[in-house]
Amino acid sequence: MNKGQNRDWVKTFLDNFIWFILAILFTYFAVNIPNFTSKTNLINVLLHASVLGVLTIGQTIVLLTGNFDLSAEGMVSLSTIFAMWLMITPGTVTGTAQGSGLMMDPYLVIPIILVLGTVVGYLIGIMITRLNMNGFIVTLAAQLVLRGVAMIISNGQIMTGSPKAFNWLGGAKVYGFPVSVIVTLLLYVGVNYLLNQSKFGRELRAVGANPDAARASGFNPKRTITMAYTIGGFLAAFAGWMLLGRLETTVSSLGEGMTLETVAASVIGGVSLKGGIGSVGGAFAGVLLLSMIDNALNLMSVDSFWVESVRGFIILVALLIEAQKFRYKPKVVHEKEPAVASDCK
């Protein structure tokens, strides 16, 4: 009995491991780096976490079904470029990027790019589920195609000067607090609630944990996976809107390398790559951890050559923990089995 309680405690600890690491690192940084806890810096951390965070929600949802989405960063690039192309004036100086001359109203452009993201996500989902194409390579190729189209539209140039109404989400502040951070937090709360309480959330986990069993119990895995990619596409376009609002400038290489960060953040936050295990809340802790470390490395003015190696090591350590947890989990289940059997008597 005592041992069982002990196991439960270990399990809770392992499940919330990431928050402990986060707290310890935060204290460490706060003590050792002078400006780390200043208000501007903390807001900076959260700002970086917001765009990454929105992308990570999409990635987590797809990971829960046991798939990968490497196309999101391509969608970020395309949605920003496309939005700019619709909004800005045709360039007069040679060498600058050309707008379409449509000069669309921002309130029209926002729905357009969100729909674009949704449709692209849906198409990717269809390719993977209906045409049985390998998800990893499909999304990798999609990333390339999306970025390629962004390059063609922008002619490889920087596009700048998005209208104020468009920038509201990414750039505005409410009572000194960035809108993007508030929106991201709300999104996390909402999606976390949705995944834990709704039928769709249970479907996602069931499909990820065991597609055959999910099919046998009446779920439609193909539909669920398509849905997950569709949501991923929508959120990628949303993140694009947010990022463009903050930077007011875009270029086709925008968001390069973000895919890796989203996967890393999810995995660090306890989302299993095998599907079915993990939560959006944990992933958010992963996002905060990565943003915090990035920020701290910056403040400590660590040699930029080291930054990439350090990041790689962090991902490795997270993976190591994840792999050990996966080994440990079955033992817990096994331990409990006799108890269930005795209950039945």
């Binding site: 990968f68 390719m127 045409l131 049985n132 194409m133 390998n134 990893f136 390579i137 499909v138 990798l140 190729a141 999609a142 990333q143 390339l144 195609v145 970025r147 390629g148 189209v149 390059m151 063609i152 002619n155 490889g156 890796l260 996967v263 890393a264 995995v267 790559l273 095998k274 050559f305 080291w306 930054v307 990439e308 190696s309 350090v310 990041r311 790689g312 090591f313 991902i315 490795l316 993976l319 190591l320 994840e322 792999a323 050990q324 996966f326 080994r327």
Partner: protein, 356 residues
């Protein structure tokens, strides 16, 4: 009768890559005279020799159902290690100026070490191969920057450059020479050796067994972890050879050597028919994939297609390749299901039931 047509289809499907290679060769040759120049033709594999070795290593890992995304940085690191040991202090090296053979042994050692670490993390610690190798890619690339403080090391001894940049023979033409690069021959030979290993040795058969059905392979007594470890060692060895070729060809190594190759490596292997699911594909097909990739690369830039379009078309080609792979899998699945039902005691002769 029907069986014959499906067999013919099989043969076409298996060799589709060579049809595509031939078609693209003919198209680009007719479009551009500089493409069909003998020097350009012989140089196709010479320019993508380093890529070819990475494709080879990737094919090994993919046949066992694993990935290696770290190879581009492995190439960079091995090339940089050799470059630092070889080049004089004036040219960005450490000033050791070791003999080329020591440098080659050194870089192969580094490559094997990378393979060993990858294999250890994946089989012993049960970490996800995809993310492990992505993390390794970042770590190794960081290490390249750390050991070479962001600078280029160049001018190596001739013996070192021979493999990557040397010429095997020259034939005088009306204008200049037709020179046949060593690297072209080397890549072809290495692919043939790999083909023999995978096709005709017990180890090769075990590789396919592990890749196509891990549980069945384990039940049959194959030590799958050992196979995967060896495969990653081979992969590390290939990285070192690729580093040697890359450094030798341009006679220098920069911190960015090999960066961005992961995607072409994956693409060439998949286009060449190596299945992402593991257990299918052969090395000769992978060579075809490599050739198709370098022909398109070379051909499209010779006929002056905008680089933005080249990037997009690459993605589309890859999508097409994955689509073909999926079709192939579905067909095989259906056929094996039919075969099983035909042989079963129920004596199901009606094939229409199976085809949903």
């Amino acid at each position: 009768m029907k069986k014959n047509t499906s067999k013919l289809l099989d043969v076409i499907f298996e060799n589709l890559i060579w049809l595509l290679v031939a078609a693209s060769l003919i198209i680009f040759s007719s479009l551009s005279s500089s493409f069909r120049a003998p020097n350009n033709m012989a140089g196709l594999l010479y320019r993508s020799a380093a890529l070819g070795l990475l494709v080879l290593g990737q094919s090994f890992t993919m046949i066992t159902g694993n990935f290696d995304l770290s190879s581009e940085s492995g190439l960079g690191l091995t090339a940089m290690v050799a470059a630092l040991a070889l080049a004089s202090a004036d040219n960005g090296g450490l000033g050791w100026e070791v003999s080329p053979f020591v440098a080659i042994v050194l870089m192969i050692g580094v490559g094997l070490l990378i393979g060993l670490i990858n294999g250890f993390l994946i089989t012993r610690l049960k970490m996800n191969n995809l993310i492990v190798t992505i993390a390794m890619q970042m770590i190794l690339r960081g290490m390249v920057y750390i050991i070479s403080p962001g600078s280029t090391a160049s001018f190596f001894p001739k013996a070192f450059d021979w493999l990557g940049g040397g010429t095997l023979f020259k034939i005088p033409l009306e204008k200049g020479f037709f020179s046949f690069p060593v690297a072209t021959l080397f890549v072809i030979i290495v692919f043939i050796i790999a083909h023999i290993i995978t096709r005709y040795t017990q180890f090769g058969r075990n590789m396919y067994a592990v890749g196509s059905n891990l549980t069945a392979a384990k039940d049959a007594g194959i030590d799958s972890d050992r196979i995967v470890r060896i495969v990653y060692l081979i992969d590390g060895f290939c990285m070192a050879l690729a580093g040697w070729l890359a450094a030798g060809r341009i006679d220098s190594a920069t911190p960015r050597t090999g960066a961005g190759l992961t995607f072409p490596v994956q693409a060439a292997a998949v286009i060449g028919g190596i299945s992402m699911a593991g257990g299918r594909g052969n090395m000769i097909g992978a060579l075809g994939g490599l050739m198709l990739w370098s022909i398109l690369d070379n051909g499209l830039s010779i006929i002056r297609v905008s680089p933005f379009w080249i990037e997009t078309s690459r993605g589309l080609i890859l999508l097409f390749a994955v689509f073909l792979d999926a079709v192939k899998v579905r067909q095989m699945h259906q056929r094996s299901l039919i075969d099983i039902l035909m042989q079963s005691t129920i004596g199901l002769k009606d094939k229409t039931i199976v085809k949903k």
